[in-house]
């Protein structure tokens, strides 16, 4: 029992970050599910995080209202952003949304009211780990319900062949915008939850690397099913901590070599699991099915 308590105390933040990163990964998944590579997530997370921190610190709002604002505000920003950029295709959409994220980050860096690069500190810890997982469960539930529904089928049609979907009379632009807005809301929520978990928020946490990580979570996990990105976030968040645990036993000092192992694992997953980690259980199921048939 005590060992379990020690385990939880040691890994509490890692467990929390698995959930937070899963939310961020899902925010990339929402747009990937209709074939759009939108990478504004770091910007939306920053908006959610800063809005929530300011509402807590300067306006004294109750936490549920703060979280609601952190969901709504990025979603509202996503609408005027999405209208022009969602006409862009593939990597051009990616770059336009990255540019949006950078403008948000640089805006914060230059904004004295929020102390620029020093960030906002002393945010009370209001996020419980259960809240993160409740939010994640809700998000997964909604995204799960989407699959197979009319809405979900439309998204799939757009992902597979956008012009064809359009000729079928699917309002492609509206679906794409809706998913961008949903992703922005998820990212904003994750940002607010993180800000109230780690006592602080600073612009350095919302740079280009952040959004690249989010994409990596989603792709490594597998973006064809809604729980794939969660697996990706879990693996890649746990990996450094697993290495921290294992490395000393094989004589690997903290430092660049652990980083190397991180990179190698990432490479192996992308090369040998084309549909991400999510294909592992699916593959297992298929094998079992074949076995039963024979």
């Amino acid at each position: 029992m005590e060992a379990l308590a020690t385990f939880y105390e040691t890994y509490q933040s890692t467990i929390a970050y698995v959930g937070l990163n899963a939310l961020l990964a899902l925010s990339v998944y929402t747009t990937l599910s209709c074939g759009q590579l939108a990478l504004g997530g770091a910007g939306f997370a920053a908006i959610g995080a800063y809005a929530s921190a300011l509402l807590t610190l300067r306006a004294g709002w109750p936490f549920p209202a703060v979280l609601l604002a952190a969901v709504v505000l990025p979603a509202l920003v996503a609408v005027p952003l999405g209208l022009p950029v969602l006409r862009l295709r593939g990597v051009f959409l990616a770059i336009a949304t990255i540019a949006f994220g950078e403008v948000v980050r640089l805006g914060i860096v230059n904004w004295d009211y929020v102390s620029g690069a020093e960030g906002l500190v002393g945010i009370p810890q209001k996020t419980g780990v259960w809240m993160i997982y409740l939010a994640l469960a809700l998000a997964l539930f909604v995204l799960g319900r989407l699959r197979g529904s009319r809405w979900g089928l439309a998204l799939e049609a757009i992902r597979e062949d956008e012009p064809a979907a359009r000729t079928m009379g699917i309002p492609v632009a509206r679906y794409k915008l809706a998913m961008l807005v949903a992703g922005a809301a998820l990212a904003g929520l994750a940002g607010a939850l993180e800000a109230h978990f780690t006592f602080m928020v600073a612009p350095s946490g919302f740079g280009f690397e952040k959004v690249v990580h989010m994409l990596v979570f989603a792709v490594v996990g597998g973006s064809l099913v809604h729980w794939g990105p969660v697996l990706g976030a879990a693996l890649l968040t746990l990996l450094p901590e697993i290495l921290r645990e294992v490395a000393p036993r094989v004589g690997l000092e903290p430092g660049p070599l652990r980083q190397l192992v991180n990179g190698v694992v990432l490479l192996l997953v992308i090369l040998f699991l084309p549909r991400g980690l999510a294909s592992l259980p699916l593959r297992g199921r298929a094998r079992r099915a074949r076995w039963v048939e024979s």
Binding site: R87, R89, V216, V219, P256, L267
Partner: protein, 291 residues
């Protein structure tokens, strides 16, 4: 804007241009962003530094050797991180991730080999005296700009005039069609990675000569390089050069007129607007950006 600032801008811009040139070559041929390009940039700089410092080679010898090393690194990248993915439907996103993994691996190896410190080439590697040509220009800067110019011209010649260049253009147009007319597609793609990485490496070496050498130096160019090749037009080499130099000059102009804190805001807001308002890019081909 003073002439001095124009000189400053052209100098930075020429670095962006060489970096982006290799970046856009692979992008044009394969439609894939190679996120390890900045890591090759860094690694080549360290290789050249080691050749100059440890072996006492002149930079004239070290530059081509390190460029070849960078090119070979490009071949490794292609073989490990890109070729296995080529048949896959999501090869462009998967390639993004696998090249990122390679960048992590290269960064870790470089850190292990050369350590985390900021180092630089010995002071006498390039002549450092300054000249007054309207503004203050050092001979080092002139050398860097001259080398950049030579590289741009050499690449243009290669792509426009040689058989390999024709093959590359054919693959960029359509790999299947290229294969039909007898182009060895695998070889052409490998060649594009070699050339691209050699150029990225050259950019890193020039950057190292101009400033310093550091494991994290790729961060200085990775995102800006991306912006440059997008604005320049997909796979367009003249576009990359013009956009690179333009970015250098615009950055300098913004610093001079508005102050340094506006520089990146203006660059990225500008990138955003260009993408939204002119989806064809500055020198891009047809409307391939819009859905």
């Amino acid at each position: 804007m003073s002439i001095q600032q124009l000189v400053n801008g052209l100098f930075v811009g020429s670095m962006y241009a060489v970096f982006a040139l290799g970046y856009t070559l692979v992008f044009g041929v394969l439609d894939i962003l190679n996120l390890a390009h900045a890591a090759v940039f860094m690694a080549a700089s360290f290789v050249a530094l080691t050749l100059v410092e440890a072996l006492g080679l002149s930079i004239l010898a070290a530059l081509p050797i390190a460029m070849v090393a960078a090119g070979l690194l490009g071949l490794v990248l292609e073989r490990i991180a890109f070729r296995p993915l080529r048949a896959r439907a999501d090869s462009n996103i998967a390639g993004l991730i696998s090249s990122l993994a390679m960048a992590t691996i290269l960064g870790a190896i470089a850190h292990e080999l050369w350590g985390p410190n900021v180092t630089r080439f010995p002071f006498d590697t390039l002549p450092n005296a300054t000249e007054r040509l309207g503004g203050i220009v050092s001979r080092m800067q002139l050398t860097v700009i001259a080398v950049a110019l030579v590289l741009v011209l050499a690449l243009t010649w290669l792509v426009q005039r040689t058989r390999l260049g024709r093959e590359l253009r054919a693959v960029a147009e359509s790999p299947r069609a290229a294969q039909v007319v007898g182009v060895n597609v695998d070889r052409a793609i490998a060649a594009s990675f070699f050339i691209s990485s050699a150029l990225g490496g050259a950019a890193g070496i020039l950057y190292g000569l101009a400033y310093d050498v550091h494991v994290e130096m790729g961060r200085s160019v990775e995102l800006k390089g991306l912006a440059v090749i997008i604005v320049g037009g997909m796979g367009s080499m003249p576009g990359a050069v013009i956009a690179g130099i333009a970015l250098g000059v615009i950055e300098t102009l913004v610093v001079a007129q508005l102050g340094g804190s506006f520089r990146d805001v203006v660059s990225f807001a500008g990138l955003f607007l260009i993408l939204v308002l002119r989806p064809h890019g500055l020198l891009g081909a047809a409307a391939t950006r819009e859905a």
